[in-house]
């Protein structure tokens, strides 16, 4: 049910973009909404990150995943249990670029009805890392439509991405990888009963949105091609703040663009916030140094404690009786 709502939403949005443009609203879907979406993305994202930044980290609570630095002759696992800032940077780099924690993933299975086993299970890691890297590369490739002249690294990325020169125009490896990985992520969300049980509309919606964006992009490049120079003219009009809407762009493109606009606008209000959030997770981005240097809690306040004097006052006779020293006789 939740999944069907998400499918319905994405389909409806795509049709709105396409039919709206076909009905002559190219200015709305080509100019006004993309501007609005980028604005919502930037302001929403900045507001959320600033909100996080304004909430203190009162305690130093890294999850330590390896040997601490203690005695000189015991080798610390710096990237799993960082004792200083460079190690933290290393740990974060592994997490953000390599999805380190997912790489640990195991699958717990009971065999013979009595023995628990924990098999390495890298499918989720593979699906996630392929999807994210493919999306980043696809984004970089799209810079060819947003920059003029096109910087060399964009062309280079395109060349590598189309290395096998299959198809006309060349099919990018990341197009296939992106759609394939998304399909897998959707499949596991549906196929694993527990994951399906916890899934909300907010989990299916971004998946279908990305699938629709990737799918329509693929369609535009390989099946129903449109006048790409006009598309670029439209995009450059936006970046130059001198919008124009060339006539010869297919409505399909406006469907694609509208879904991207929806994604941008939706981003700061959704779980997609994990993108900036992963940088700020206190269990990952703090060094394990609480005993080496004092971490200060900015909102620390005095609490009522039971002092030694109160303790002794209540128990003095018993302490004296047991031969224990006391402060006051």
């Amino acid at each position: 049910m939740t999944m069907l709502i998400a499918v319905g939403l994405v389909t409806a949005l795509f049709l709105v973009g396409m039919l709206g443009a076909a009905a002559g609203l190219q200015w709305v879907f080509g100019v006004a909404l993309p501007y609005l979406a980028v604005g919502m993305f930037v302001i929403g994202l900045a507001a959320r990150v600033l909100r996080w930044a304004n909430v203190p980290v009162p305690f130093r609570i890294p999850t330590t995943c390896g040997q601490q630095r203690s005695l000189a002759w015991i080798r610390p696992q710096r990237l799993e249990n960082p004792p200083d800032t460079p190690s933290v940077i290393g740990r974060m780099a592994l997490e953000i670029l390599g999805f380190r924690s997912l790489l640990r993933n195991t699958k717990t299975v009971m065999i013979d009805g009595r023995r628990l086993t924990y098999a390495t299970d890298l499918a989720l890691w593979a699906g996630a890392i392929v999807m994210h890297w493919a999306m980043l590369i696809a984004l970089i490739r799209h810079l060819r439509l947003m920059t003029n002249p096109v910087p060399g690294f964009v062309t280079l990325v395109e060349r590598f991405d189309g290395f096998f020169e299959v198809g006309m125009p060349v099919i990018y490896l990341t197009s296939v990888a992106f759609l394939g990985a998304l399909a897998y992520l959707l499949y596991r969300r549906l196929a694993i009963p527990e994951v399906r049980y916890i899934s909300l509309v907010g989990d299916y919606f971004p998946l279908f949105l990305l699938l629709a964006i990737g799918g329509s992009g693929f369609w535009l490049r390989h099946v129903t091609t449109t006048d790409i120079a006009s598309v670029k003219a439209l995009v450059l009009g936006l970046t130059h703040f001198a919008p124009t809407v060339p006539a010869s762009i297919s409505p399909l493109f406006f469907g694609h663009l509208f879904l991207v606009s929806v994604l941008l606008a939706y981003f700061p209000f959704s779980k997609l916030l994990h993108m900036p959030g992963v940088f700020l997770s206190p269990t990952r981005n703090l060094a394990n140094t609480t005993r080496i240097s004092r971490h200060v809690n900015p909102w620390d306040y005095p609490v009522k404690v039971h002092t030694y004097a109160e303790y002794e006052d209540e128990l003095r006779d018993k302490m004296i009786g047991a031969g224990l020293p006391v402060e006051k006789d």
Binding site: R48, W52, V55, V57, P58, F59, I61, T63, T64, G66, Q68, R69, S70, L71, W73, E80, N81, S101, L102, R104, N105, T106, T108, G113, R114, Y118, L124, E194, V195, R196, Y197, I198, S199, V201, G202, D203, F269, S270, K271, L273, H274, V278, S281, T283, R284, N288, T290, R291, I292, R294, H295, V303, V305, H306, Y308, E312, L315, G321, G323, L324
Partner: protein, 558 residues
């Protein structure tokens, strides 16, 4: 006939039949089933009074009406807002979860129960659904469609059930791609319940005791003297050595503190005896404290404020006694508090000196600010320098495995020190499977205040992954003892091992060290600290007896 609070009530073959398929009803529409054996009794008002906590009242978990205070919804929402603005962890973990499910089968309670609300992700969703409804734009507009739900009394009951079915072990946080830590979520959930006067007695009574008497068990100063004297008697019987009992001694070099569970409960007491023996052997100028008589801190399982209130006594007592630095015994959650909170909460401890081992001269640079050293760091250093005469053969009848306790493993990273010590005092040390040790270690199932008998079914279920790993090394290597440097482990793993891997005993590491140490002035060692005959050594004695018998000189050596 066993009752629900005894392990014998549960058939292991039935307990492992775990239903892994979620119910047909969506989780928001599946109410809690308060089944005896799976929940803990409410905190008694008298304990809340000792601590001055709000809304003490009599209630029962199985009652329909929990007698929540007037305006309780607002109390919860205000409490959430306050915590969202104080803990970035909480705010962030509410916002960024993608529900990938990587954490699901990492939780010992989910593995052992199959209850989907024991998946860390869903445990957090219990709170997150309220957060979305009342604190996010999408949730306010779209409500259930955006994953929100209204705050009802059933939600509070669900929170109570599931936030006291989490041991704050942090295993899920190791596997989460964003490091979302369910311990943080559970701590917030419990704090919020506390605002309504809802606690479990197994936690809040020890907290009240600890606040007033310095330790969770409520042992008064004279009782502590008796306890330690009793142990000294047993030490003398086992080794022939008379140990000092420095208590509340001003001007001692080191303040030693350890969880109070080790004062009274078998097998923790043997570890406690071991400390006294080892300090005696090493000639350390230390003192116990009756005021700071517990390193354990059930405040960690109550609220940040309570944790700070209980922890304050450690540095205060160190200052009053004028010691140079602090040494902490084998404990799990105590070390989470000492390592990650104490210096921030009650520091700076600038009246103390950077810890330096009086035995080896090693400066413990890694503790130069908090001034508190772990007994395993201390002993590893002593052993490395050859300052402790060891005869590991005295432990040859023991085939030991090591259980990393959750907090020292994932909230500190003390992994090699205990292993180094174990290898030096035992000739037969076997690791459990790699996915069940070190940072991936499994909880005993009874941490974070869940180790009470009325919670027996959940303890056994939660202990299943650990018990299973113990059974594996038992069958494969003949392991007969499990070492753990945690007082809660020493209490709860006894039950878990008896149930899932019968025949495996539980011990502290220090106990094994003391049993392997050749003490100066010891009598002929025939019995270990448990006053059990040491195979080999007792046999030798029996042989000697036999020889003497033939000569008609029985008992001449005694």
């Amino acid at each position: 006939m066993a009752t629900f609070d005894e392990p014998g009530y549960y058939d292991p073959d039935e307990l492992v039949q775990i239903q892994r398929h979620p119910p047909v009803t969506p989780w928001m529409e599946t109410p809690v089933d308060f089944r005896p054996g799976t929940f803990i009794y409410p905190g008694k008002p008298k304990n809340l009074h000792v601590l001055g906590l709000p809304h003490p009242h009599e209630w029962a978990v199985t009652d329909a009406d929990w007698k929540l205070p007037q305006g309780w919804q607002q109390i919860i929402l205000d409490g959430m807002a306050e915590r969202l603005s104080r803990y970035r962890s909480f705010q962030l973990f509410m916002d960024i979860c993608v529900r990938c499910g990587a954490c699901a089968d990492k939780c010992h309670f989910f593995i052992g129960s199959g209850d989907p609300k024991n998946m860390p992700v869903l445990r957090a969703e219990l709170l997150r659904s309220i957060y979305r409804k009342d604190f996010t734009a999408l949730g306010k507009v779209f409500g259930k469609l955006a994953g929100g739900r209204p705050l009802t009394e059933d939600v509070i009951k669900e929170w109570f059930y599931y936030f006291y079915q989490c041991t704050e072990c942090r295993r899920c946080s190791v596997f989460c791609p964003y490091g979302i830590d369910t311990a943080e979520i559970t701590m917030m959930g419990r704090e919020l319940l506390g605002l309504l006067g809802l606690y479990v007695n197994w936690v809040i009574e020890p907290v009240a005791n600890c606040y007033r008497f310095g330790n969770h068990l409520g042992i008064q100063p004279h009782g502590m003297v008796d306890t330690l004297e009793f142990m000294a008697g047993d030490i003398e019987e086992a080794t022939g050595i008379t140990v000092d009992l420095p208590i509340n001694k001003k001007g001692a070099e080191i303040l030693f503190f350890t969880p109070s569970g080790d004062f009274v409960a078998d097998p923790g007491i043997y570890t406690c005896m071991a400390y006294m023996l080892l300090f005696h052997e090493l000639g350390i100028d230390y003192t116990w404290s009756t005021y700071a008589s517990d390193g354990g801190n059930f405040g960690l399982f109550t609220s940040h404020e309570t944790m700070k209130r209980l922890n304050a006594k450690i540095y205060a007592e160190a200052k009053r006694l004028g010691v140079k630095w602090i040494l902490g015994g084998e404990c799990g959650h105590m070390w989470r508090v000492v390592h990650q909170y104490m210096n921030t909460m009650n520091g700076p401890a600038d009246f103390l000196e950077v810890p330096t081992s009086p035995v080896t001269g090693t400066v413990f640079e890694h503790a130069r600010s908090a001034k508190t050293v772990h007994i395993m760091e201390f002993l590893a250093d002593v052993i490395k320098h050859g300052k402790l005469p060891l005869d590991p053969a005295r432990n040859d009848h023991i085939r030991v495995t090591f259980h990393d306790s959750c907090n020292p493993a994932r909230g500190m990273g003390i992994l090699e020190e205990p292993r180094y010590v174990l290898r030096n005092v035992c000739n037969h040390f076997y690791e459990m499977p790699e996915n069940t040790i070190r940072e991936q270690t499994f909880c005993c199932g009874g941490g974070a205040g869940l180790g009470t008998d009325e919670n027996m079914e959940m303890r056994l279920r939660g202990g299943l992954p650990r018990g299973n790993a113990v059974r594996y090394v038992q069958e494969r290597y003949g392991v007969n003892q499990l070492a753990a440097m945690c007082a809660i482990d020493r209490a709860t793993l006894v039950t878990v091992c008896d149930y899932w891997a019968p025949g495996v005993n539980v011990t502290g590491i220090s106990e094994l060290v003391a049993n392997a140490t050749v003490f100066r002035g010891e009598k002929r060692r025939t019995h270990n600290l448990r006053l059990e005959p040491i195979p080999g050594m007792a046999d030798e004695l029996a042989d000697a007896d036999a020889v003497l018998e033939t000569r008609g000189e029985v008992g001449a050596h005694a």
